[in-house]
Structure formats: structure tokens, C-alpha cells
Subunit: 190 residues, 2 copies
DNA sequence: ATGTTATCAGACCGATCTGTCTAGTTGCCA
DNA sequence: TGGCAACTAGACAGATCGGTCTGATAACAT
């Protein structure tokens, strides 16, 4: 039934959208740029996704999945106890900062361009729920007395690390945030 | 020499640009919207600012000045020692979160829309320098052993509080960040 | 061989964008 | 009063946007 290209039209479009939207912003990247990079006809894009908004939704969903899976994988490999992992999140985040095409949190950038509406809003909300539960689950597992408080503090730290690394072009911020996280975890256990 | 309107053309344009750019984003607000809200002719805008980019620069410069002056004023009125002020920054920041039209950090949102180029980049860089020196000066004045380390931690926390309050629509984040700041300050003195 | 389906290439539509330009109006000053 | 400068209103240019549509091509199933 499907034409057998090296990769499907959908995959090529998503890959192109991911690179372009993340690097240059959603609003400022035109449909024509996306299809050109994907090597796909315009009609194929609209047959596959229906609208730019749906392409944006798929782009953010992919970012979310990728981030979540990478974090889970790295945390499991690198650290053993929940308490180690609470601070480890910031070291793993630092790996992302050091990547050459890092340009800040995709959800923040997408949300900053408002107007895009429902697709961005919903994807961002899901992403925020994940961030919060990431820390809350670890705080619970670590057995800290007030997991909710610690989790909220670490969410703030996590957000801030991403912003600082981005705006200051400084990947070493991860060392600072990891140090602060360790201090906050210690205080929470004291 | 100047026409005596209730407010000058420049002031009206800046006020309109400030409201619209901050509320809806820079790229998605057209020149026509700005002049309509300002009640000013298009030619007047281009006579006064020369280009949209210069209007954006003036908008961000105004935001920077306003933020800096408000922070200095509130810190001086509400707190006495540098150590109190280090955590006080986050409570003052929380006042901004609670304002009805709060929509995150204007410099983050502007930077997220890339493409705008030099004007945004330069204004953001100046803003970042101010944020950093705000904490560094207070940390020095407080006599903490490693002021640079504490300052960098608090910058991360400051950035994160702004993002969390914005993305989670939750002004109470300021209590969390202020609490974390106190803990980090205490640890830095220990 | 034929028909179906997916794809491609690109013209086209209506809207919107920044920025320029023309004309007419207002208000100050000598 | 006459002249100058600032201002207003809006047409216009040139580009780009998202999205639709036509027509040709290629691959596959029957």
C-alpha cells in the first residue's frame, strides 16, 4: 500500500520541522521551507498533517517523547538511588546544554510565540506535567519529608538552568544548578 | 518647537508597543496595530523610530529600565541587610507574577522569536548582565564566602521562577523560589 | 493492461507584513 | 499673515504567509 521510500513522507516532514522550528522558531519558518528541506511536495504535507498547526503539535509531541525517554534512560544508567537521581537530572540536562544546536527549551520558545494557540498550549501543558511528576516521583521515592515542596523547588531550578544556559550561552550552568539541587535536597532531608 | 499633545508621539508609540509586544509577541504584532493603538500616523512612527527594529529596541530598553528601577526601589523599601535582600529579590519578583497581565519575561519571549536579530540580542545581553550583577553585588555586600557561586545559583533560580510562574500560570511559585533562595543563602554562609 | 493511490511540481488565492510616498491638515513663531 | 515643521490618513509596492488546486508521474494490485 505505501510507497517504499528510504523514509516515509511523515518521517521526513517531522525531521525537517523539528530542525527548522527548533532552530528558527515556529512562526518564522514557512511551510515552503519545511517541504523543501523534507524533499516533499506541499500537497503531501497537507495530506499527512492537514495544517501547519498539526505539524507543530506533532513536532512538540516528538520533542516531549524524546526528552522524556532520554532522561529516563540516562538516569537509570548513571545513578542508582532516587536521591542521587534528584540531582542527577541536572547533570543529564547539562548534556543537552552542551549539544551544538541547543537553543533553549522548545516548549518555552513555542509558548513565547503565543498566537499559535491550542496545539502549543496543550503540548506545553503535558510537558509541564511531566517535569513536575519527574521530580515529585523521585522525591517520593527518596523518602524526603516534604516531597511536594522539594519537587517544586527543583522544577524552578530545572527551568532556570535551561533559560540561563540558553540566554547566557553557557553550558556550565549545569554544574551550578546541580550543586544547588544537591544543597536543596540535603536541606530537605535535614 | 514640539507639538503639545497630552503625551508626545514617542511616548504614545512606546506605550502601545509595550502593551502589544508584551501581550502578543513582537513578530505577530504589526506596525498597523501599534499605530492604531497609539493613535498616530504611520509616517510618524517611521519619523520617530526609523524602523520596527528600533521600536523593538526602545521597547526592551524601557522594560529593562522599568524592571531595574522597580527592583531597586522595592528592595530598598522592604529589606535592610544585603542578606535579606538576596532572598527579597524573589518576593519582589513575585509581585510581578501576581499582576494580571504577567506573561513571562519579556526578554525571554523576545529572544525566543529569534530572527529579530541585533536589537533583541543586544537588549537581552544588557538585561542578563544586570540580573547577574544584581545578585553578585548583593552577595558581595552580604559577605558570603563564595559570592560568585551563590550569585550564579540565584540567577538560575530567578530565571526559573519567571518561567514556572508563566508556564504554570502560578504566581505562588515566588514563595517556593524565595524559600529555596533562603536555603541556598544559608548554605552559602554555613 | 488498467485503475488506484500516493506523490511531485508549482501556479494560484487572499491576506498580511514592513516600509515608502503623496496630500492635506494643524499649530507655532516671526 | 505667511512660512515652516510636525502630524494625519491612507494608497501603494514588494515580499511572504498558509492553504488549495491542477495536472503529471510513478508504483502497485488486480
Amino acid at each position: 500500500m505505501e510507497t517504499r521510500a528510504r523514509t516515509s513522507v511523515r518521517e521526513r516532514l517531522l525531521a525537517a520541522a523539528d530542525e527548522l522550528f527548533y532552530a528558527e522558531g515556529i512562526a518564522s519558518v514557512g511551510i515552503d521551507q519545511v517541504i523543501k528541506r523534507a524533499g516533499v511536495a506541499k500537497a503531501s504535507l497537507y495530506n499527512t498533517f492537514g495544517s501547519k498547526d498539526e505539524l507543530v503539535r506533532a513536532y512538540l509531541k516528538g520533542r516531549h517523547t524524546q526528552t522524556r525517554e532520554r532522561m529516563a534512560r540516562e538516569l537509570e544508567v548513571r545513578y542508582r538511588t532516587p536521591r542521587e537521581r534528584l540531582a542527577g537530572v541536572f547533570e543529564v540536562q547539562g548534556l543537552i546544554f552542551a549539544e551544538p544546536d541547543f537553543r533553549g527549551c522548545a516548549f518555552m520558545c513555542a509558548s513565547a510565540e503565543s498566537e499559535t494557540g491550542e496545539a502549543v498550549e496543550k503540548a506545553t501543558e503535558e510537558y509541564r506535567l511531566w517535569v513536575h511528576s519527574l521530580f515529585l516521583d523521585l522525591a517520593f521515592a527518596a523518602g524526603v519529608p516534604s516531597p511536594e515542596t522539594l519537587a517544586r523547588q527543583l522544577v524552578v531550578l530545572y527551568d532556570g538552568a535551561g533559560v540561563s544556559a540558553w540566554l547566557d550561552h553557557d553550558a556550565t550552568v549545569a554544574k551550578v544548578s546541580a550543586g544547588a539541587a544537591k544543597a536543596l535536597v540535603d536541606v530537605a532531608f535535614a
